[in-house]
Amino acid sequence: MKILQRIFAFLSSYGLSIVLLLLMMVLVFFGTLEQTRLGLFETQRRYFESLVVVHPVFGWFPLPLPGGYLLLALVFVNMLFGAIVRAPKRWRRPGLLIAHGGVLYLIVAGFVAYTYAINGNLPLYEGDSGSRFQSYYEWEIRIYEMAPDSEGRVFIIPQDEFEDVGDTGRVFYHQALPLELRVARYYPNCRPAPSRDAWSVDGVTLSPLPKDSTAEQNVPGVFVSLHQPGQEAAPSEPGILWGMERGPWRMLAEGREYAFALRRREWELPFTLTLEQFNHETHPGTTMPSHFSSEIVLQEGDAKRDVLIRMNEPLRHRGYTFYQASWGPTDAQPGDPLYSVLAVTRNPAGQWPMYASFIISFGLLLHFGQALLRYLRQQSGVPSDAHKR
């Protein structure tokens, strides 16, 4: 029991709080510097979404640091034990308790967003409708049923299910498919090159490139092979999938045609958006946009409603948020068709930071309000709560 008590005392201590806050400062400092070298996406992944990070101080000295994920988990435990469980419960002064509860809620919101949120974009020309949106940097392998009498399905293998395959690979199957797809040797950024090495297919292989600091610019590739169900050891048909290929890999299996492609990740929306009109104004005498907005019709089943999406005025519907992100073509002539790009986010905790801010503000207002009242009472000669007790 003594050991448990010591662990509890350590995890709830002020000392740990201070060390964690200092480490967070150091991590934010180094992470900010590294953005110039690695780019925003990669820095966020390595420094703030990791358990441990090794930072090269002056470019060569390896300094191990706890990652943002680990630090925030420890801050959560420290605050839960120190400020909620161990703190004296003085119910006549609940402000600090409420404020700390709000901070914990904020950390939980961050965790939920990190785990479940998805982000992408939906470009629409005037008059066009869309019911799916596309990721900026995630990819997926698609297996299309191509036979005219097929159901026209697409079988999806998301990037997180094949990005860690080594040379041995991973076999993907589905009971409705007369084939199995083995996926091996994934490159997050690569380009095709003529080659006759062991991995080449028809004289072409994938040549890895260093990751670009702008994640959207990476073009991945992967080696695949087809075999009959349960016959992984038998000779199989090799192929290559690349993010910028000019067409899919089309193959026959059991007399039915299938197409395989590596494409940016897409998600279906449970409703349809139609861009009725895109409006933009420029600063006088310039081509710089001063204001732009999209007049949208949201259709869900038979129900339709008009929506206006503007900068800082997103559309929120069924857990999705649509922001006015950009538009184009930027060099469009009068009369040319325009398109509007909506940034799409699905985050179950999208509104939680706002609620957490309300809770924290309420707790702090309560706390400081009570302190002010105590002070005013002392000044007017009325005994404070403490003196009453």
Partner: protein, 227 residues
């Protein structure tokens, strides 16, 4: 736990670590395909799909006509046209206008504009810029931005397919916008005096049928002096 159990466990670990059997995973996500997306999928061999060789070289040869069938009518001879003068003292250009293409009126910055017959929103046009004109990579990325796509790196652009015209290896770009509505074919040909651009922009369903004519048009372009 006895020593024998530890040995068995270690043995299992070693066996599993050395196993070359790939893991198996069931596909959990199935969607309905967009019919237009399926219909617009070309069938190429690996090298062509990857842009390592030109499309034309990879297309299957047309079957020979049957002996007892009268030969088909000769396709109309493409019209040849030239433009009166080029900017920057550059030699005049001439080309063969593909059958079914109609020349449109003059447009600013363009040497010539064509509208393929039977299309509503598709047009092909030629522009020429003296000097480096920002370079090939910047121009490819400007086109991509116009269709809402992110930029490519120099390495990506270097891997793009090539099309031979004016004795040069011109960069060939085929871009579709994210909604799959608009498509663009673009060729950037470096010439000693600057960059020559040939672009075709239009709806995806109209563009597919024009690709062969677009490439033939690009190949037909030559300097008048070269005649």
């Amino acid at each position: 736990m006895g020593k024998s159990s530890i040995v068995v466990l270690m043995g299992l670990l070693v066996v599993s670590a050395c196993s070359q059997q790939p893991e198996r995973q069931e596909i959990a996500e199935v969607r309905r395909a967009d019919p237009a997306e399926r219909e617009s999928m070309p069938s190429f061999d690996t090298a062509t799909r990857m842009g390592v060789q030109d499309v034309e070289g990879a297309l299957p040869e047309a079957p020979p006509p049957p002996q007892d069938v009268p030969p088909a009518e000769e396709p109309p001879t493409p019209a040849t046209s030239t433009i009166p003068e080029m900017p920057g003292g550059v030699p005049q250009l001439m080309w063969e206008v593909p059958a079914g293409w109609e020349e449109a009126g003059e447009r600013p910055m363009r040497l010539v504009t064509f509208h393929p017959e039977g299309t509503e929103h598709t047009e092909c046009f030629v522009t020429f810029l003296v000097g480096p004109a920002g370079g090939i990579v910047a121009n490819v990325n400007r086109w991509r931005a116009q269709l809402g796509l992110g930029p490519l790196t120099e390495d990506n652009v270097a891997a793009l397919p090539r099309l031979e015209m004016l004795g040069e290896e011109a960069v060939f770009v085929n871009i579709k916008d994210l909604s799959g509505t608009q498509e663009m074919y673009g060729v950037i040909c470096p010439v000693p005096e600057g960059l020559l651009f040939v672009r075709m922009v239009g709806l995806v369903e109209e563009m597919e049928a024009e690709r062969e004519r677009f490439e033939a048009f690009c190949r037909s372009i030559q300097f008048v002096d070269a005649e």
